[in-house]
């Protein structure tokens, strides 16, 4: 598909809105349908589309494996970190109400951060899975 100008032009046109939609699903998750998992998948889809059109090496040089490894871990660390800050603030593990003076604000902050962690990990794991399968050398 690398040499097809139509596919290239359309996908380059589509990738930014897909990423934007992913971010919308991510941050609108506590008001409407959506959340970290769905957003992570959508963002990963945009990157995978890029790899399909421009070839794996081009994508891999822009988003290298070691970067994904860091984001993968960072998501989980953020999640558990929010959990621990609940304890440090005097509540239970994952208790968001104690994160701010007003319990409602605390819940908002907590759920936003948790979902951010989920989205971060899901997106990087899915991209990494794609890299691993697509980058496999055939054994004949």
């Amino acid at each position: 598909m690398k040499n097809d100008p139509v596919v290239k032009a359309v996908s380059d046109l589509l990738i930014p809105p897909i990423l934007l939609f992913g971010l919308y699903v991510q941050f609108h998750g506590d008001f409407g349908p959506g959340g970290g998992f769905q957003a992570g998948v959508i963002i990963a889809v945009a990157i995978i589309l890029h790899a399909l059109v421009h070839g794996l090496p081009a994508t891999r040089s822009r988003i290298p494996d070691h970067f994904l490894r860091i984001t993968m871990a960072a998501g989980v660390i953020l999640y558990v970190g929010v959990g621990f800050s609940g304890i440090l603030a005097g509540g239970e593990f994952l208790n968001y109400s104690v994160l701010a003076d007003d319990p409602l604000t605390g819940q908002h902050i907590g759920v936003l951060l948790i979902e951010l962690g989920v989205g971060c990990t899901v997106a990087s794991v899915l991209i990494m899975l794609f890299y691993q399968f697509a980058g496999r050398k055939g054994q004949r």
């Binding site: 993968m72 660390i77 959990g83 509540g91 239970e92 593990f93 968001y96």
Partner: protein, 493 residues
Amino acid sequence: MTAEHLPILQVAVPLALAPVCLLIGNRHLVWLLATAGGLFTFVCAAFLMVSVFNQGPLTYYLGGWEAPWGIALAIDLLSAFILLLVGLVATLTLIWGKASIENEIPGEQLSLFYCMFMLAVTGALGIVATGDAFNVFVFLEISSLSSYAMIAMGRDRRALTSSFQYLVMGTIGATFILIAIGLLYMMTGTLNMADLAARLPAVRETTTVLAAFAFLTVGVSLKIALLPLHQWLPNAYTYAPSVVSAFLSATSTKVSLYLLIRFFYTVFGADFVFRDHGLQYILMPLSLIAIFAASGIAIFQKDIKRMLAYSSIAQIGYMTLGIALVSQSGLAATIITMFNHGLIKGALFLAIGGIFLRTGTSQLAKLGGIGRTMPWTMGAVVIGGCGLIGVPLTAGFVAKWYLIVAALEGAAWVVASAIVLTSLLTVVYVWRTVEILYFKTPGDSVRDIDEVPMSMLIPTWLMVAMVIWLGIDTTLTVGLAEQAAAMLFDVTP
């Protein structure tokens, strides 16, 4: 402040360390971190044990949401006991494992391996600590998926197929458990175990609950590797990296068995399981076949790890046998066997892992005469083998003794004699191993090798020492197991 948070800390700290391990490139540092995590869970489990023993069961509400709505962690005597086993084995295998892991796992995968190990520990501890049925499934998947990945990292290429086999069987088991939990949720509208127990009696006669019960029993039995569902176990234990074989054999089947006991006694209630639906009439023959068949197969194994794997299936038979006796003493015997066998098998797999490190093989034929070059490791194998047989002054004796007493109390003479008879089968395969390892003339592969380093000998012998100690001083295991069994029988509606 932190004491009340112990139930979640011992699950969350290894979970937090897993991604940190992923980011650390230094092989010494990542090992140190993982070992510190293991040690932390052990210390937590010890504190929990003391607290539960003195002040009764603990409940912890995640996020501050109260029980039937939120997720609760519930620690009672039985769960604290199993947590202690998992924490102890995780710590000792990690301390032991540094050289072995670096020998068997390629350098660039080391941090991935420790990450997986931490996740497996998280999953095992989570299953035991949680009081929420759906949470059980989540933690079960965490521990299973990380186990599949760790088994696939084995040096032998057959590790891949055995991991895939385990993945297929394990996923079927987990799906069955999920279906069961879904059906229970459909009938009661709750996922909290205590709440389920309170609401189930009203709908206990329905087919849906019966179906849930059937799915759950088969699903968990797959994870336990109860006889007709055991095919995944021998390959998985044989081709996995040594440290994984040791950790999984000592903990994973015990954790699944804990799940079976928890669902039978706390959620469904012993009356429903045994009086109304007579599960003991299925469980008893299966356990007896498991003990006889697996011990028989173990005699003919050429690979020492494979032999121990079949011996594990036989020992699982003893544990389910205790449940099938449907008595307080039978259940206590099961709990004792779970703990003692975990330590015995852990010690044996650690010793075999040491042999594998030095010789690169676990084939019996190639290891003839190794007793002369690695006396300390082989000493551990002999004492562990004695534990498997049930020789007095080892932990195995205590376990078998209480099982036989429980069988005699239930006037099950056939069962009692079967236990004694299968001990003879165990003698055959243990003695066969000892004979080859000590009395054959050492071959080329074993003549010029050294004893394993102290860092591996000390954890192995710590476990061996515990096997002996628990065979002499039974206040810890027997006392706790009897109290736990009494507690489980009391809560039965």
